[in-house]
Symmetry: C2
Subunit: 155 residues, 2 copies
DNA sequence: GAGAACTATTTGCACAAGCAGGTAAGCCGC
DNA sequence: GCGGCTTACCTGCTTGTGCAAATAGTTCTC
């Protein structure tokens, strides 16, 4: 096995670890948010991304990138949330192809209610992962990252 | 904003970064493997996990954990791969509830053909991510992880 | 050693995702 | 200011997923 193979194997191992930790956190958040607030992780992510915007509004495409979704999936996701009264669509004045989405008061309320659970679940899962020898190093590394501006995080 | 909130915000930011990098890699691998070998990432993961087993066989539940899938999804995933002749099922002799899956020669062949593309895509995507200021720290951290034994990686 | 409790796998169903194709709106050169 | 190209969003269709219930086999208890 040459140097090339070693490097590839190291990357593959890192990717397995990353995927494992991601899966652990994702499914824990999914269960918790679904059970308590009937929200999926993507839905929470969208609400959270919206709440972080200056004017609390975003265009569909921005939303799609923030949630790492295709535009068709974004359309339906926004429709679901709109049906539940958590956000509303309205046309851009300047570019009438564009559609803005904006949190409603209920949306902000639900987000405020869900955030503590989200954060607590995240903390609990990270703590749990820190006890697994194969995940612990990545958990430590995550902790030491510089804090990332949210607007860029999912670019 | 108190110390509690700061800690929660750091964890949330780390989670966003982790999710962003995961999404980037996952979709790059998905596209590449799908285009060249009609394999999804999970399917590749399963073949790869099987190839790494001593006797090249695993039970459904092990497979489910290795792929981070529910057991029903695993059933259907194995069925798909079995239909394509990439692996085969056979009953456990000692515990007849259990079902072993085993790579066929074609399965090993396809895996051997797909692995270089997988590894190259992974490398390219990590390189790309290292150029994004918000992902670069995590990429570096990944690189410095200890190599994880594959059998445990997705536990 | 018969029945209860548990485990491994499969199946029915509902739902969310992506892709490809459609429509409406803006932009650009002439 | 009229075609042609591009962009933004929505819809039809197919596929993969999870949950809950069904089935088959094992183990434990008395």
């Amino acid at each position: 096995m040459g140097i090339q193979d070693d490097a590839a194997e190291i990357r593959a191992g890192g990717w397995r670890t990353l995927a494992a930790l991601h899966g652990l956190i994702d499914s824990a958040l999914e269960k918790a948010l679904q059970a308590e607030h009937r929200l999926s992780v993507v839905e929470y992510t969208v609400l959270e991304a919206l709440s972080r915007q200056d004017g609390w509004h975003m265009r569909m495409q921005q939303l799609a990138r923030a949630a790492a979704l295709s535009s068709s999936a974004t359309t339906r996701l926004v429709s679901r949330l709109e049906d539940r009264g958590l956000l509303s669509r309205y046309l851009c004045a300047d570019d009438r192809r564009g559609i803005y989405t904006e949190l409603t008061p209920q949306g902000r309320e639900l987000l405020a209610a869900a955030r503590p659970l989200h954060d607590a679940t995240l903390e609990a899962t990270l703590t749990e992962a820190a006890d697994l020898p194969e995940l612990a190093p990545l958990v430590r590394a995550l902790h030491d990252l510089e804090l990332i501006p949210a607007a860029q995080a999912k670019a």
